[in-house]
Point group: C3
Chain length 315, copies 3
C-alpha cells in the first residue's frame, strides 16, 4: 500500500498530541493503585500465585491420554511402546499433580492463616492417590461410553463418542475433580469443572457424586449441584437442572455444607429441560422424568412423570 | 523472594520422602497397564491416530477465510493480491483436507476391518468436491447474513454479524460438515460440529439438512438432531430443540438411520425454548411457534402456535 | 513403524493421480473468485482488517490483571513490585486500546464512507477514558464478588469466585464493553461480549445497563438484550432471558435503537429458565420471579411471581 494509505491505516496523530495523552498515564496508574488501598478492593497481593488454569488444563489432557490410551496422543501407540509412553506420562503427571495440589493447599492455608507445614507431603499423597484411582476411573468411563452408545441412535461408534461427545468429557472431568474434592484439595477441582463447563455448557460441581453408566446427551445448560447424588445407569438430556430450592437472601452461610440437591436412584431417565430441586427430593429407581417437568418432591421407584402438555392455541 | 519464602512456596519435602513416593510409580503404571488388558478397557492401541481436533480447526479457519474473503485474514486484501491469497489458501486446503479425509476413512476401515485400498483417492475426491462446493456455500451464507440482519434490530452491520455472531458460525460449520457427511466421510464432520458446539452452545448434527436464509439468534442451548430437515428462510432462537421422541432404553440399534427428527418447512419462526419432537412431525410453511411450546405433532401451513401462559400467582 | 505400515498410514496414491487432481485446482480457484464478483458475494476486500479477536482477548486479559491484581498474573505480586507491574500493564493497555479502538472507528467510517479524520485522536481519548474508569469498575466488581458469595452456599471463598465463576467473568467483560459502547466504539464491544458468550454461555449485549452487586449463577443460556436496564443487587440464574417481544418479520430497521427489552429494578431475584420480555415491562423493586415463569407485563414492587406448577401425570 502507498504512503497515504499507510498513514490512514495507522490513524496516526501528531507527536505533540501523543505525548500530551501519554503524560496522563502516571496519574491514571496512581489512581488505580489508590483505589486498591481501600477496603472495597479485592486483591491477591502478597500471596503465592493461584494454580493457573493452563497448568490444570495440561493435567486434564494428560489424564485423558492415560485413561483413553491412543485416542488423544499425537503418536501411534502399539503394544511395544504403550508401556513406555504411559509410563512417561504417568511420571510427568505425578510431578505436575503433586506440585499444583501442594500450591493449592498452601495457597488456602496461607490465605486463611492456618497451619501449613505438611502441604508438600499432602501434595504427594493426593497425587499418588489420584493415579492409583485411574484404573477404576477407566473401568467406569468404559461403562459410560457403552451406555452412551446403547441409548443414542446417532452414535456411529465408540470412537466417535470418546473423541467428540461433550457429555462424556464433562463426566470424565467430574470423576477426576470429585476425587480431588473428596481428598479436600481446594480450588483445583472447581477450576477443572469450570473449564469443562466452558467447553461443554455442562456445569457439574466437583462435590456431586455420580454412579457408573452415566450419560449426558447434548448437555448444554445442564446444571448438577454440589450435594447431588446420582445412582447407576442414569441418562439426562440438555437443559436438565438438579438444583437447590429457592434460597432466602444471603443464605450462603446458613446452608453451606448442607444437602441441598436431589438424589437420583438407579436406571432413571430425565428428559430435556426438566428441573428437579431440593435436598430431600428422591427420584426412585427406574423412574422416567419427562421433558420440562418441574419437580420439588420425591417420586417412588418406577414412576413415570410427564407434564400435562400446556394448552396450545392454533391460529 | 528470600530463601524461606522460596522453601515455603515450593512446599518442598525431604529427599527421602520424595523417593519413597517415587518408588511407588512403577507399580502404579503396571496396574494401569493391567487394567487396560481387561475386556472392560476401551483403548485405541495399534490403530492410526484419529484426525486431531487441531488439524480440523485449522481447516475450518482456512475455509472461513475463503468463504468470507478479507474478514478473517491477517493481511489486508485488495483486488490485486486477492487471487494470490485465495489461490494459496485453496491449495493448502486441498492438501490438508485430502490428508485428513484419507486418514478418517482409513481409520474407520482399519478399525472395522473393511477393504481399505482406495482411501487415498477417496480423500482427493472428497477434498476436491468440497472445494468445488465453496462458491455455492458462499452464496447461501451471504443469504444467511442478509436474513440475520433483516430480523435483528440489534445488528449494527453485516460486518458485525459475520465477525461476531455465533449463530452464523455454527451454520457455516454445519454447511461444511453436512457436505462431508453426505460424502460418507467418518469422524471429521462430527469433530467439526462438536467444535462449533463448544464455541457457540449450538449443537447441530452434521446429518441435519438446512435451507438458505437460516438464522439462529443467540443460540445457546439449540439442539438440531441428525435427521432434521429445515426449509428456506427459517429463524430460530436460543434453547430450541428439534429432537427425537423419548426412546425405549437401548433403542440405539433399532432406530439408527431412521428419520427421528422433525421437518420444518419454509418461512417458519420458532421462539426461544420451544421443543419440537418426532420424525413424523411437520411444521407447515409460514408457521410461528411461540416460546416454550412443546410440540410432538404436525401443524398445517400458516399455523400460529402459542402456549396458553401458565397461571401465575402474585403475592 | 515399518515401510508397509507407513505406506498404509499415508494412504498415498500414484504421482499421476495426484497431479491429475492438482491440475484441477486453478479452475476451482477461478470459480471461487468469480463467485465473489457477483452481487450476492459479501466480501471485505479493499478494507483495512477488522480488529482481530486475538488482540481483543489480549486486552481483556490485561484489564483483568489490573482490576483483580495478583489473581491472574504469572508472577507473585507484593507491595514493592505492585506499582511497577501495574504501571507496565496499564501503559501496554493504553497502546493496545488506542490502536484497536482507532482501527475499529476507522474501519466503520471507511466502510460507510463517512468523515474519518479524527480516528487517531478518538482512539487515544476512548482508551484514556476506559483506563480512567478502571478504579470505578474495580469497586463495582468487588461488590459483585461479595454479592455472589453472600447468596451461594457452594462458594468456598472470594478467591474461588474470582478465579473460576463464569458469571463474574461475563459481568466483568460486559462492564468494560458497555463503557466502550457508550463511547460509540464500533465492533470491539460486541467482539468482547461474544468472546465471553463463547466461554460462559452467557450472552449480554454491550448495550445492556447493569447496576452493582449483580450476580449470575451457573449462567449457561442467559440472554440479556441490548436495551435492558438492571438495577442494584439483582440475582439471576441459568437460562434466564431478558428479551424482546416477538417481532414482525424484517422488523430490523423499524425497531433499531428503540427500547425493546425489560427494566429490572433493585433487589430482584429471577430463577432459572424465567423469560421476561418487552421494552415496557418493569419488574418492581424486591420482586422474586420463579423458575420458568413467562412474563410480558410489569409487576409492582415486592411482587412474588410463581408459576402454578403444571399438572404432572404419575404412572
Amino acid at each position: 500500500m502507498d504512503v497515504d494509505q499507510k498513514d490512514q491505516h495507522t490513524c496516526r496523530i501528531g507527536e505533540e498530541l501523543t505525548s500530551q495523552y501519554r503524560k496522563k498515564l502516571p496519574g491514571v496508574v496512581d489512581r488505580i493503585l489508590d483505589s486498591c488501598r481501600q477496603d472495597s478492593c479485592i486483591s491477591h497481593v502478597d500471596y503465592d500465585p493461584i494454580p493457573s488454569t493452563e497448568s490444570v488444563v495440561g493435567i486434564i489432557d494428560k489424564l485423558r491420554e492415560v485413561v483413553f490410551p491412543g485416542y488423544f496422543s499425537k503418536e501411534k501407540l502399539d503394544p511395544v511402546n504403550l508401556s513406555f509412553v504411559l509410563g512417561r506420562t504417568v511420571t510427568m503427571l505425578f510431578e505436575l499433580l503433586s506440585q499444583q495440589i501442594s500450591n493449592s493447599i498452601r495457597h488456602d492455608c496461607m490465605r486463611y492463616s492456618q497451619e501449613c507445614s505438611d502441604c508438600g507431603e499432602r501434595g504427594f499423597e493426593a497425587a499418588m492417590a489420584l493415579l492409583d484411582y485411574l484404573p477404576e476411573i477407566r473401568d467406569v468411563m468404559a461403562a459410560d461410553v457403552q451406555a452412551a452408545y446403547d441409548g443414542d441412535p446417532a452414535a456411529k461408534s465408540h470412537d466417535e463418542i470418546i473423541f467428540s461427545y461433550p457429555g462424556l468429557y464433562a463426566i470424565f472431568v467430574n470423576r477426576i475433580a470429585h476425587k480431588l474434592h473428596e481428598m479436600g484439595v481446594p480450588l483445583m477441582p472447581r477450576t477443572m469443572t469450570e473449564y469443562a463447563h466452558g467447553l461443554t455448557g455442562i456445569d457439574i460441581h466437583p462435590g456431586a457424586t455420580i454412579g457408573g453408566r452415566f450419560v449426558i446427551d447434548h448437555g448444554t445448560g445442564v446444571v448438577i449441584g454440589e450435594t447431588t447424588t446420582i445412582g447407576e445407569n442414569v441418562r439426562i438430556y440438555q437443559g436438565v437442572t438438579l438444583g437447590a430450592l429457592s434460597l432466602p437472601k444471603n443464605a450462603g452461610e446458613a446452608l453451606r455444607n448442607k444437602k441441598r440437591h436431589p438424589t437420583i436412584e438407579d436406571d432413571v431417565i430425565i428428559y430435556s429441560g426438566a428441573t428437579i430441586l431440593g435436598g430431600d427430593t428422591v427420584i426412585g429407581k427406574g423412574s422416567v422424568i419427562g421433558g420440562n417437568v418441574w419437580l420439588t418432591q420425591s417420586v417412588p421407584p418406577g414412576t413415570r412423570v410427564i407434564m400435562e402438555p400446556p394448552t396450545l392455541t392454533y391460529r
